[in-house]
């Protein structure tokens, strides 16, 4: 037992001493009193120091989030910064937390986070800000320890838009059902709740086929992949023959729901309002199952986040109407810590080809 205790303490001491020895005294001023070994950013002639920016996404390996890497790199080249693209391989909040802690250890100047579970990251982000990092999140509704949260649009607006589209394209007496990735994804839940509230208020004879829990809608859970949403949708369609439209908030579930509809031969009677990449759901637009879709280009939001972060570092303030220098974010609206662009991209059959180029 003594052996174990001594070994463990020795291990911690080694690591602590090694790391403290290297550390310069003020962690948040990376280049003051840089230790002797030369690092590449030694040249002092650039007006301001080279920024380090990092982004932590829900999961790497999908087009949706990789686009944030592309635009992040582009922004970094334009502003002479180091861009780090970090994320877990599987969409699990514990794995994302570990990536987030490593990203914070990078002591970046600007940190962007797309949280799987927003409140899970709140505690850690407080640490990031205490070390001087500007925290600008995306899809981060409900987070408190942030400088700003950038979204392509206001969630309520997004949900309300879909409710209006449902009334316009399906009919005022449509029976609808909302589908989210998981019940714990804040953005999807916000859109569904907005859709539900707006429909109840403005379209009284629109009925919701979802379960209700104390007046609140309980959307269907499509799971993180298209297969679980496929099995779920097939069963729901048989249990609710009166259904007219699915409002699918999670891009990974749209393909599964559409496949279920087409397999049950209900392509004519049941339609889908989809969120997500046009290229991923191209065949379903062409087959008419998806009547209307909307998406945003996450890369743009990433660009905007870094831009907001940079301005904060330079001491500027962010206010409504500012131009963040990327299409859809030329005149933003600021509401508290939330920044909304109008980077909302409608997808219908006629602009499908063009949208597929975007993402």
């Amino acid at each position: 037992m003594k052996k174990m205790l001594s070994l463990a303490l020795a291990l911690c001491m080694i690591l602590a001493m090694v790391s403290c020895g290297q550390k310069d005294d003020t962690p948040n001023d990376p280049n003051a009193g840089q230790p002797s070994q030369g690092t590449q950013d030694q040249d002092q002639n650039k007006p301001q120091k080279k920024l380090t920016v990092a982004t932590v996404v829900k999961a790497i390996g999908s087009n949706w989030f990789d686009s944030m890497d592309w635009e992040g790199t582009k922004w970094a080249e334009e502003n002479g910064a180091d861009h780090h693209y970090i994320g877990p391989t599987s969409m699990d909040s514990a794995a994302q937390l570990q990536c987030l802690e490593d990203a914070i250890a990078l002591q970046p100047d600007v940190l962007t986070v797309v949280p799987i579970a927003a409140d899970a990251c709140d505690a850690l982000l407080a640490q990031a800000r205490s070390q001087g990092t500007k925290v600008v999140t995306h899809e981060g509704t409900g987070l408190t320890n942030i400088d700003f949260n950038v979204d392509a649009f206001s969630n309520e607006g997004f949900g309300i838009n879909f409710a209006d589209k449902c009334n316009e394209l399906i009919g005022a007496d449509a029976t609808y059902a909302c589908v989210v990735g998981t019940l714990t994804t804040p953005a999807h839940m916000a859109w569904s709740k907005a859709f539900f509230a707006h429909a109840n208020a403005n379209y009284p004879n629109m009925t919701c086929a979802n379960d209700l829990d104390g007046g609140e809608i309980v959307p269907l859970e499509g799971g993180a992949n298209s297969d679980t949403s496929y099995t779920m949708a097939k069963q729901f369609l048989q249990a609710h023959p009166e259904l007219d439209v699915f409002y699918v908030c999670s891009s990974s579930c749209v393909a599964g729901v559409c496949r279920a509809i087409e397999e049950l031969g209900l392509g004519e009677s049941v339609k889908v309002l989809a969120v997500g990449t046009a290229s991923g759901q191209k065949t379903y637009y062409e087959s008419g199952t998806i009547v209307y879709g909307a998406m945003w280009y996450p890369g743009a939001a990433q660009y905007a986040c870094y831009e907001v972060g940079k301005r904060l570092i330079e001491g500027k303030t962010i206010s409504t109407g500012d131009d963040l220098g990327f299409e859809g974010y030329h005149s933003i609206t600021v509401d508290g810590t939330n920044i909304y662009g109008n980077a909302w991209l409608d997808i219908t059959l006629d602009n499908l080809a063009e949208m597929c180029e975007v993402l």
Binding site: N63, T89, D211, V218, A255, C356
Partner: protein, 332 residues
């Protein structure tokens, strides 16, 4: 006496399956509608093919955790292969190419575990990490858009071998995938029961020392078992990604637990080198009937996961207790 024993193991699983199905049908008659039956069969295709592969390795006494990484990687290599040669793919070669990739990859597991006498389970934890990520280190994006997918593969999900109009206005389409499941099951049954190599897999599971004395080469048998495992899992993988319409590495990760549950439910026993194609199909049927009807039965969204866990536990209890009772009154 053996005939009776064989039938008894199978009858327990079939009885359990029918029991669950009748209970569900009583609660909600739509469960037995043509649409739902076809839908359940379609849901069982992936699990069935993958579980058949898992069984082949379990018979030799090894338990493999890297099945989903192998299936994902084989599908990825097949899709890239089609892109490179610029071919839009077809229903035959897609499964053959994926199967070959899967076999080659899985054989690595077999070789390491046999050559260095490590347990297959332990090796699979390491290779699961490697197979799941080694190719994506260098690629700019590990995602394949629908346009970039071989177009004919995308038609797999809409090709039905049987489609009829069910009463409630919903169509009942039996996906072509069931043909792949039936062919794989038949081929595996023939291989395991009718060829000398196939019996060698059972022999290896029965007694690792005796298999060499009788004249088999344990390395060859292990490699063949892993090759069959890899091929089945890869075929299931390419089928999954053709249905999904796009390729993302993480999509398939959480399907592994159902495959393992189906294999064990299907009477696969690693210690005694037991496992049969019939048993697996019954195991897959039970798991699918549990997982594919709960929403139709109106189980509230929150309770679905809980119900699935509870039913698998009770199902295992039922089959084990009845097996033990059978064992006792057979006097063994």
């Amino acid at each position: 006496m053996r005939k009776r024993a064989k039938i008894n193991d199978m009858t327990i699983r079939v009885v359990l399956f029918l029991l669950i199905l009748t209970v569900f049908a009583i609660i909600e008659p739509a469960v037995l509608s043509a649409t739902n039956v076809c839908s359940m069969i379609n849901d069982s295709i992936f699990n069935g093919i993958a579980a058949l592969g898992m069984m082949t390795v379990m018979i030799t006494g090894a338990f493999d955790l890297s099945s989903m990484s192998i299936s994902m990687l084989s599908a990825f290599l097949t899709l890239k292969f089609y892109n490179i040669i610029g071919y839009e793919g077809d229903f035959i070669t897609m499964f053959l190419i994926a199967g070959t990739f899967g076999a080659l990859i899985a054989m690595i597991n077999g070789f390491i575990s046999q050559k260095f006498s490590l347990s297959g389970f332990v090796v699979s934890i390491g290779t699961n990490l490697i197979f799941g990520s080694v190719f994506f280190i260098f690629l700019r994006s590990s995602y394949i858009k629908t346009d970039a997918m071989p177009q004919t593969l995308l038609k797999v999900r809409t090709t039905a071998i049987l489609s009829l109009q069910s009463s409630g206005g919903t169509a009942a389409n039996l996906n072509i995938g069931i043909v792949v499941l039936v062919l794989t099951a038949a081929a595996l049954w023939l291989f395991l029961n009718k060829t000398q190599l196939g019996r060698g897999i059972y022999a290896l599971g029965g007694d690792k020392v005796a298999v060499e004395r009788v004249g088999y080469d344990p390395m060859t048998i292990t490699l063949i078992a892993y090759a069959v495992f890899g091929a089945c899992v890869a075929i299931a993988g390419i089928y999954f990604y053709s249905n999904a319409g796009t390729f993302e590495p993480g999509m398939i990760a959480d399907k592994g637990s159902d495959v393992i549950a189906s294999a064990i439910f299907g009477g696969c026993n690693m210690k005694e080198g037991k496992g049969s194609v019939g048993g697996i199909l019954a195991g897959v049927a039970i798991i699918t009937v549990i997982k594919s009807n709960l929403i139709l039965l109106g189980v509230p969204v929150y309770y679905v996961t809980f119900t699935v866990g509870a039913m698998i536990l009770l199902g295992v209890l039922f089959s084990t207790l009845s097996e033990q009772r059978l064992q006792r009154n057979r006097g063994r």
